[in-house]
Amino acid sequence: MVAYRRRRSFPRRKVCRFCADSNVKIDYKDPKLLKYFITERGKIIPRRISGNCARHQREITMAIKRARHIALMPYTTIQPH
């Protein structure tokens, strides 16, 4: 018996939450929402993990970058000395 080398990932297909609920507006002034799409280190979570559709991922990316610029979100959590 051949051992399954490659572990099957869950086939659960995530649905873009912004397509599912059109009431949620992506806004750079809303770090609470955007926080969901960054890692602990402050990096933007890729689409394949977050499950966003291309369009909304683009908007999220834009919003996160704007929020970073105006110091609402961190560029990195490692503080420079």
Partner: protein, 139 residues
């Protein structure tokens, strides 16, 4: 006219009067250049995600206004010169807006979208045509 919003951070050790002075100054800049301030919203003191000019906190202020591109240039120039402003970010919200449809200091973003389309059909001024850049960001 175009609609912009500028989010800026005022230094945390400023007093009530200084915040008022900042408000008067920048609203004056906009109105002085034939712009129109739609709203001026002080969002209060928040902690910054990272230190800016050695400050870890700041007063966030969101100003929503109408005007030509020169208004933004002048406003940002003033913000750069002003020591009380730690950082600012300007984003364009709409390209062609009829100023009559926007009440001063009372934003109506929902209605805005419909009115913008009407304004486009009526007045197509040539200088409003080209504007690719969606925002101006500067330190």
């Amino acid at each position: 006219m175009r609609r912009y919003e500028t989010l800026f951070i005022v230094t945390p050790d400023s007093s009530e009067e200084e915040l008022k002075a900042v408000a008067d100054k920048f609203q004056g800049v906009v109105t002085g250049m034939n712009g129109k301030v739609a709203s001026y919203d002080e969002q209060g003191k928040k902690s910054l995600a990272y230190n800016v000019k050695k400050q870890s906190k700041g007063y966030y202020v969101l100003m929503d206004y109408l005007g030509q591109a020169e208004v933004v240039a002048e406003l940002e120039r003033n913000m750069r010169l002003d020591d009380r402003i730690l950082k600012y970010l300007t984003v364009k919200l709409a390209d062609q807006v009829d100023p009559a449809t926007v009440e001063a200091a009372k934003p109506k973003p929902k209605k805005e979208a419909e009115k913008t389309e009407v304004a486009e059909e009526e007045a197509q001024s040539p200088e409003d045509q080209e504007s690719e850049e969606e925002e101006t960001e500067e330190d």
